[in-house]
Amino acid sequence: MNQDWTHLRELESESIYILRETVAQFRNPVLLYSIGKDSSVLVHLARKAFYPGPLPFPFLHVDTGYKFKEMIEFRDRFCKEIGARLIVHRNEDAIAAGAHPLKLGVARCCGQLKTAALLHALDKYQFDAAIGGARREEERSRAKERVFSLRDAFGQWDPRRQRPELWSLYSGAINEGETMRVFPLSNWTERDIWQYIVQENIPVVPLYYAQERLVVRRNGTLIPADDAIHLKDGEVPEKMWVRFRTLGCAPCTGAVESRAKTLEEIAEETGSAKISERSTRIIDHGANTMEDKKREGYF
């Protein structure tokens, strides 16, 4: 066997196989591009999978209007650079009505700006498969997720209706109106992701690197505070050395204290992390869990 057949090569090959199966089995797939590190890896793998051909699917970004400006800048520059077709979809009605987590609560805000927007976009463009960067290690309801995960005509996930997946036989057989979510990074961990980003020198949003930023402490989470609209009365921002482990909407994504300024330092820090990455995502807290959201059609 090849001496440099590392665990990263094994994961890479498996993901490429899954991406090719998706293109072979579906009429109109799309890659759900969320701008984060997992999306960066997913895009990198997709470019490898279809080389020397072009990417055989467009990217869809569901924009809530609350993404960090560094994310949007990165998205536009990166997609242009690699020649990707980017579709940006927003729930304009909800945005115009002023949907905000401090006003609606996190669950309802996510429901309108993310879940409803995603389902609407899938329907509008008639996508039959949506490729996402979710990983089984991230959250416990994802530990049982299939690589090809079936959604009913309302975009909902029913754990009891998922098909058994044996060997590397992924069944893309769906009925009228149903869609598939495809997760090529299922077997990757956060550590694998960063090791691979270092190995392949994959570009990521600068927010992942540590720097001094304005934050407020709220319920034990460090919330970015460069925009006053996300602040509650009486909250006073302070300057701290922080970075982001995961990227979501600015008002709902916590930072972690860190001095990791290079990819290598981030990979090193991730390797010894004691707290899970999703602990900084407010969406996972509270009564409405990731499992509930998945059932409703969340990514």
Partner: protein, 416 residues
Amino acid sequence: MSSNVLRFTTAGNVDDGKSTLIGRLLVETQGAFEDQIEGAKRENERRGGKGIDFSLLTDGLKAEREQGITIDVAYRYFATPNRKFIIADAPGHEQYTRNLVTSASNSDLAVILIDARNGMMTQSRRHTFIAHLLGIRHFVVAINKMDLVDFRRERYEEIKRDFTDFVARLGGAEVYCIPISALQGDHVTGPSDRMSWYTGPKMLELLESIQVDDAAHKLPFRFPVQVVSRPPASPEFPDFRGYMGRVASGSVKVGDRVLVLPSGARSTVTGIVTRDGRLDEAVARQSVTLTLADDLDISRGDVISVEDRPPVSRTDFKATLCWMNERKLRLNHRYVLRHTTKTVRAIINEIDYRLNVNTLERESPVTELQTNDIGQVRIKTLQPVVCDLYKLNRHTGGFILIDENNDTVAAGMIQE
């Protein structure tokens, strides 16, 4: 060289301590994080328990935690500096056969939990039989709860003998037995001063060192075509035609003569193309794009193979089926059969026998198979299937059946 990823499945009765063992492995290798451990503790206390219940770390769905059961195969990850581990954790009771078949299909090793007080039970035999049937040839037997049998060596030896005898009856496999206490931590990742009579490796050491050496590397070259690549002309690739796929077994070099099935056409490999450059060789499990010297009519589902020792092209065969759906098997009904990257129409003509997974007896005549039944059947396909026997090559010998509702209803292994 050793494989850097070990995929293993875990099987055992609900009360054998499987969740405790996995929970401990995760916690002690930092495969679980402090906030997750805290969450599991809080949840246990809310339900009136005390301290950490490791099973709450591994039970994924709310429905499961509420009912205290496990519905589905769950995947867990941990790593040491030497190896990455992927656990396919199959629940011990409800839907056991179907879930174990699924988790074993992608594993190279099975960890079987046995309660030292009870020894080999019907369930231990059933789990071992199914894992063996799916091609697993490495068994780590965790003889658990040694603290409840006073760490007696005789008890360990007795169970070890029973297990080894049973596996010999199945046709043999590597067996490694370890006396442990998952709850108290003896021999999981650390030592045990209460079982000094045992001088073998601890659980984690064993998992790190066992050479499963994926047999796929030694088998003849097989390359099921996934996608035919014909990109628009570019200066570097004015007229590119390549075959994308993942090497199912063996390896291939530029210049090798190959056979394309089912057509029987022959050609020579002219290139192994990747975005990281051209390669001289592609090995098992590697995703690449091949180019051939001749312009052949090749499409998705065709298999590119070595010239000598090719796979066979068949439209009828005997197979062992595990039935997975609530709607039972219908004879002479049209199913869709998916095998490697090929999809064909198929019917089941005959059921030869059903296997009693508890006694290992063959029951016949039988007229139906239902959920969790395993049996041997005869299958006819409309188009040829390019395959190997499952016992020779898991990657080209396994298939699934899909019904008209698009449900995956059975998993099959080609026998003859």
